[in-house]
Amino acid sequence: MPVKKKVHAVAIEASKPKPPFTKGQLLEFLRQMLGIRRMEERCAQAYGQGTIGGFCHLYIGQEAVAVGALAATRPDDYVLTTYRDHGMALARGIRPEQIFAELFGRIGGCSKGRGGSMHLFDKEKNFLGGHGIVGAHIPLGTGTAFASKYRGEDRVTLCFFGEGAVQNGAFHESLNLAALWELPIVYVCENNRYGMGTALERASSLLDLHKRAESYGMTHSLVDGMDVLEVYTQVKKAVDGARKGIPSFLETRTYRFRGHSMSDPIHSHYRTKEEVEGERQNDPVLRLLATLEEMGLANQEEFDAIDREVSAEVKAAMEAAMKSPEPDPATVYNFVYANDPYGGKRPS
């Protein structure tokens, strides 16, 4: 079906005033974003060498969303995301060696080698995956928010998904239920413009996706997803609202600098090299560095020092993960049932 080229109706407004960030906070953002960037680069390398199997979706370009958003949460808040989950897991505090070990299919992985790239989990960190079916985890996040309200707790759920999920039923059913029941949840759409190779304008009747929340009478806003300070500010506001029982929907505009997965080239039929190069000028890591320089809080030299440190940590984590053994085939029936009717034996 031919689709008319559409343009976004509104420009993204920056929130004013921004909260006063401390130098420590800003440098922590930088360190985390660089950590994700360097970890993902290592993943690309490992994938090329065959150390990582299956599908592998890199987060490069979207770091500001995970880092800014999760900095606005409490450790007891619930976080759920998509299969593009490495960066989110790291920003949630899962140790990089556990992430690498999971990607390598080792027992030291945060899902004990059972989940892989798309299914990172950490119960202690309230990181509830890592989900592989587009949109299907949105009802789950709605359910954790339901549980908070049921128990009278003030724990908030942050549920991340791509703009591809906004077209499916699970998303719409969830938003309706969350608004109907006033659940403590913030839905964060990471609009990176492409659902695999399908541009948003070829998939959505509405380009300002945040406005979809209006159908449910839900608070919504549009966020510059390449600006970590902006993401933090807006998510913080939304999280504070959710704690009082006001769910909301944030559309963060971001961009992935790599292909959809490792088997998708950076640019091909669906987007041009020029477009990707143009977006790279808006690199969230470099933008934060520019802000830091502007504020006189850091310079290139300090940036390089942090980068070297972070890169060394990532490398060490990767090497440590390689030492973790693969799961023993004798344990293949582990984790199928919690009340195992077969008593750990192989069923006939």
């Binding site: 619930y78 992985g109 945060c110 899902s111 004990k112 080698g113 059972r114 989940g115 299914h119 989990f121 950490d122 119960k123 509830l128 995956g129 890592g130 989900h131 592989g132 079916i133 299907a136 985890h137 949105i138 009802p139 789950l140 996040g141 709605t142 359910g143 954790t144 928010a145 339901f146 549980a147 908070s148 049921y150 128990r151 039923g169 699970a170 059913e173 969830s174 309706n176 239920l177 109907l180 582990n334 984790f335 199928v336 049932y337 919690a338 009340n339 009717p341 077969y342 069923p347 006939s348």
Partner: protein
């Protein structure tokens, strides 16, 4: 001993478990204000309030997912599907989320949820309201599939299912909600994975579950008795995990087996059971295992056709005579 309908037995099971554990709640379409589409949840809203008896919109994918998410957060939801025919809207949630979460997370997130509601045909409800789904769910690793055929089992098995730490698909039936029977007073749990011999016999084994037990299998046994043939009726109750031993024990005694199930024939649960019987009782069988199933057609509306599609006493008797070479 109280004489209860299956509807009352299920209601008691939920009420007792909700009383016992504040994490147990009921969610679904019409479960609260309306008191249940089939009145299984009658009175629960009045007793437990709207926080624990949650009416939902017609949004099966959404509320099944909410239940699974709530289970990830440690609650124990009972999700009522008005019928399992509607649960297809939620089957992605059940298969991709409920069944796989424990393994995907390396053992961190078990899903203690019960998804319950009527399964299979009732009376002239036509194609989209009449399918039997036990083989669909039984095929999925990570799920448990539970059925019952009388009020005592309905209560004891639902209580166990609610306490179980895994996702349980609990299959009921519109046509037997009113069926009455004795239910022991007080707490009586029936473990998942344990079947029961519903009628003793020496001449052949009829394996059947859910409403096929009272509506077909036991009636076939009654008819056979008039001819001096004693059929043993075995109800595995839980289809997954399956109580193979109770089946094998009976078949080794009678040397003949008929499986009666409401599901359609191709890839039915009965095919799995037959294969296991062949393997475990090969030397004991005096006749090939017979299967009585629904015909492989979408359910037609007309009474004459519907009756033809569903397993009947007549077809049960024919199968029994076949294994007896009569």
């Amino acid at each position: 001993m109280a004489n209860l309908s299956i509807r009352e037995a299920l209601n008691q099971a939920m009420a007792e478990e909700m009383e016992r554990d504040p994490g147990v709640f009921l969610m679904g379409e019409e479960v609260g204000l309306y008191n249940g589409a089939y009145k299984v949840s009658q009175g629960l809203l009045a007793k437990f309030g709207p926080n624990r008896v949650v009416d939902t919109p017609i949004s099966e994918c959404g509320f099944a997912g909410v239940g699974i998410g709530a289970a990830m957060a440690g609650l124990r939801p009972i999700v009522e599907m008005m019928t399992f025919n509607f649960a297809l809207q939620a089957i992605d949630q059940v298969i991709n989320n409920a069944a796989k979460m424990l393994l995907m997370s390396g053992g961190q997130f078990n899903i203690p949820i019960v998804i319950r509601g009527p399964n299979g045909a009732a009376h002239m409800l036509a194609a989209q309201h009449s399918q039997s789904f036990e083989s669909f769910y039984s095929h999925v690793p990570g799920l448990k599939v539970v059925t019952y055929s009388d009020p005592k089992d309905a209560k004891g098995l639902l209580k166990s299912s609610i306490r179980d730490n895994d996702p349980v698909i609990f299959l009921e039936s519109e046509s037997t909600y009113g069926l009455k029977g004795d239910v022991p007073e007080g707490e009586r749990l029936i473990p998942l994975g344990k079947g029961e011999v519903k009628r003793q016999g020496m001449d052949l084994t009829i394996i059947s579950w859910s409403k096929m037990v009272p509506l077909v299998a036991l009636k076939v046994a009654d008819e056979l008795q008039k001819e001096g043939i004693e059929a043993e009726v075995v109800d595995p109750r839980t289809l997954k995990p399956l109580d193979e031993e109770i089946i094998f024990r009976s078949v080794k005694k009678t040397n003949r087996a008929v499986i009666i199930e409401e599901g359609s024939r191709f890839c039915g649960v009965g095919a799995e059971i037959a294969e296991r019987i062949y393997k475990a009782c090969y030397d004991d069988l005096d006749a090939p295992v017979e299967r009585v199933t629904s015909l492989d057609v979408p359910m037609p509306y007309a009474h004459s056709l519907e009756s033809d599609v569903l397993p009947s006493v007549k077809r049960g008797l024919e199968a029994a005579r076949k294994v007896l070479y009569m």
